[in-house]
């Protein structure tokens, strides 16, 4: 069980780097769906024994993160004639290097914040790495949809960290968190849809009318 969880966590890091390196919007969404699926596997792999709590959380996560959200994001860009991201503010090569740097930073920070009795030593560094990489995608990409993907990667990182606290965060709250994220992305998707209609592109660098 322990090795399986380790492999899954490493695959999560790989999916982060893959999303960082791709320019195709559909690849971004597919990478996100893969990440959601991996995240759904984790509660069952981490729990010392399979419980109803862990199983239902796993199912809920897979449904929301691996199926519903990617499907919805695909719907939102169906109207858009956009298929590819143009060169982001930080180039693709620099993004990949930033991503690797983020992993290094995450491991360094994680070694300073010890969690006693931690079964999975990789969980905290991978969560911090995913968080930082999500933040990088959110801030350096131009297309509004890729920014939403970055936000979801950020949330995935936080979800990973939440897995270290499975006892203190009851099922109801996790459900509430998932629901909140779903509704949030739902609203973002609607706004992206309208941005596409209004501005005829998903390029968020065009949203510059308001300023002081």
């Amino acid at each position: 069980m322990r090795n399986a969880a380790q492999i899954v966590l490493l695959l999560v890091v790989l999916s982060d780097l893959a999303i960082l390196g791709t320019s195709r919007l559909s690849s971004c969404i597919r990478g996100l769906a893969a990440q959601g699926f991996l995240l759904g596997l984790l509660p069952v792999l981490i729990a010392p024994h399979v419980s109803v709590h862990a199983a239902s959380l796993a199912v809920g996560t897979v449904i929301v993160k691996a199926v519903a959200l990617p499907w919805f994001l695909t719907w939102a860009i169906r109207e858009a004639a956009v298929r590819r991201e143009i060169e982001p503010i930080v180039g693709f090569i620099a993004s990949q290097l930033l991503g690797a740097l983020a992993v290094a930073l995450a491991f360094a920070i994680a070694s300073r914040l010890p969690l006693p009795g931690m079964q999975q030593p990789l969980l905290v560094p991978v969560s911090l790495a995913t968080l930082i990489i999500g933040f990088v995608v959110l801030t350096t990409r131009r297309k509004a949809l890729v920014q939403v993907v970055g936000y979801l990667i950020l949330e995935n990182g936080i979800y990973l960290f939440g897995l270290t606290q499975t006892e203190s965060v009851p099922f109801l709250i996790e459900l509430g968190v998932l629901l909140d994220i779903f509704v949030g992305v739902f609203i973002m998707g609607i706004v992206v849809f309208h941005i596409n209609r209004e501005f005829d592109s998903l390029d968020s660098t065009r949203l510059t009318e308001l300023s002081d």
């Binding site: 936000y151 936080i158 203190s168 709250i173 509430g176 949030g184 706004v191 941005i195 308001l210």
Partner: protein, 483 residues
């Protein structure tokens, strides 16, 4: 039971409004809004008279801090509902369902935030307030509001995500000491919490909820959002939403104060506070749009709130008093700005001579200017004075001087725009511009702001006993002293 009702009634009504077929079409179910708002305020008043027991296994309770924010929200909501009656006679939102549903959902979410004792539940409520307001910002569906909504969503969502991480950090700090993430247990075991995780939690929660408050440097969404949303929505956001966000910061401050990490937390709070004051002072000068001006004023007041927390001593009481005053005054100012926008199309420096065309609103606007910038005899003066006193007591005369300078600059900046709008000759009507025609100000549009103004004025002279008591107890929980 009452606590549950406070959260459930608005939520159920919101769901009904959004789902039921009878509400399709553009008509806004105003009567429903008024009924729910009235019932909500009645329930809240009963909480003051007969304090309730914690419910849901201790997850929700009406402690002094939460009760203050809840009352503020309830009052503002009722006033806004009354205002909507008059508003709808002049403008109709594109989707009445979304408008009413969003407002009701916001009330429910704010109630959850105010009453929550379980910090993860507080987070869920906070995120719900963000999401319920987003469709309201986007009501006009034009390019500018679209841009504002996008910025609001992205920045707020990142902030809330960081707050979630902070909440998880807090759970890590707690380990298995007491029931997880429940405020009373956290405070009881405060000294045994893991200090590194607690510090990290404090920072993340401050940044995360500070983004929702609109503290600098996370305030960038505020001017755009308040500027593009309908004024009554901006008023609710500036009055109620920011207070709920402040509640999040205050909760973690309670834990930090109980854990004795005050020396770590206070400089951070003071830094954010001073930065907010500085940013507000800088951007208020030369501001031409009334709503954006009020947004920067909101940034200033959030900075003052956090400063009061950080200065300690009697500053915590000053912050609590300021919370109440600011909420009411912002609601008042935004509703009046809404009147101006309804009459002339846009509340910016293009207007002139409002004292002749909209006498009631103009008077309230000028009075509001004095209230919001902290002049006597309004309540803000008292709360700001208390915070200054805390600065001197704590041996920080330079901080007090900085605050005074910032307040003076902000007064000048705001007065320039407000007086420019109010005084002078109204522009002659040119073709489509009918701004000079005196518009009848219906009493629905003016009654609410007048009521709010009266309360703020009263708070400048006399603070009712029960209120004073609740504020003092809240301040003590935050690690401060009684005034």
């Amino acid at each position: 039971m009452r606590l549950l009702a406070l959260c459930a009634i608005p939520l159920v009504t919101a769901l009904v409004v959004l789902a039921a077929r009878t509400f399709r079409g553009r008509r806004v179910p105003v009567a429903l809004l008024l009924v729910v708002a009235g019932a909500h305020l009645a329930l809240v008043t009963s909480l003051w008279v007969a304090p309730p027991l914690p419910a849901l296994g201790g997850w929700i309770a009406a402690d002094p801090l939460g009760l203050t924010v809840l009352t503020l929200t309830s009052v503002l909501f009722l006033v806004t509902a009354i205002y909507i009656v008059g508003y709808l006679r002049q403008e109709a939102p594109r989707s009445g369902r979304v408008f009413a549903g969003g407002l009701l959902a916001f009330l429910a979410a704010a109630s959850v935030v105010a009453l929550a004792q379980h910090l993860a539940m507080l987070w869920v409520g906070m995120e719900a307030t963000t999401l319920s307001v987003a469709p309201l910002v986007f009501l006009r569906r034009d390019r500018r509001s679209l841009e504002a909504t996008w910025k609001y969503l992205v920045v707020s969502s990142v902030g809330i995500a960081l707050a979630l991480l902070g909440t998880f950090f807090l759970a890590s700090a707690q380990g298995d000491l007491g029931r997880p993430l429940l405020l009373p247990d956290l405070i009881a075991h405060a000294r045994e919490l893991h200090p590194a995780w607690l510090r990290a939690a404090f920072l993340f929660l401050l940044v995360g909820f500070g983004t929702k408050m609109g503290l600098a440097p996370m305030h960038t969404w505020k001017p755009d959002t308040y500027g593009e949303a309908p004024s009554l929505v901006s008023g609710l956001m500036a009055g109620a939403l920011t207070s709920c966000a402040f509640l999040g910061v205050a909760r973690v401050s309670e834990v930090v104060a109980a854990a004795g990490l005050g020396s770590f937390a206070q400089p951070v709070l003071i830094a954010f506070g001073l930065l907010s004051l500085g940013v507000a002072a800088t951007f208020v000068i030369g501001q031409r749009d009334m709503k954006r001006l009020l947004a920067y004023s909101s940034v200033e007041h959030m900075g003052l709130l956090v400063l009061g927390l950080g200065l300690g001593g009697v500053g915590a009481y000053g912050s609590m008093l300021h919370l109440v005053n600011n909420g009411l005054a912002k609601g008042w100012m935004f509703l009046i700005t809404g009147n101006i926008a309804l009459a002339t199309g846009a509340a910016n420096s293009g207007n002139r001579g409002l004292i002749r065309t909209l006498p009631a609103s103009a008077t309230l606007l000028v009075l509001g200017l004095f209230a919001v910038t902290g002049s006597p005899p309004f309540g803000m003066f008292l709360s700001e004075f208390t915070i200054l006193r805390a600065a001197f007591d704590g041996g920080h005369p330079w901080i007090a001087a900085t605050i005074l300078v910032a307040l003076a600059v902000i007064f000048v900046g705001m007065a320039a725009l407000v007086l420019g709008i109010v005084l002078g000759e109204p522009p002659a009507p040119t073709g489509r511009n009918l701004g000079a025609v005196p518009v009848r100000e219906s009493r629905w549009l003016v009654a609410g702001p007048v009521a709010l103004a009266a309360i703020v004025l009263m708070l400048g002279f006399y603070i009712p006993g029960p209120l004073r008591d609740v504020l003092t107890r809240a301040a003590m929980a935050l690690g401060g002293t009684a005034p």
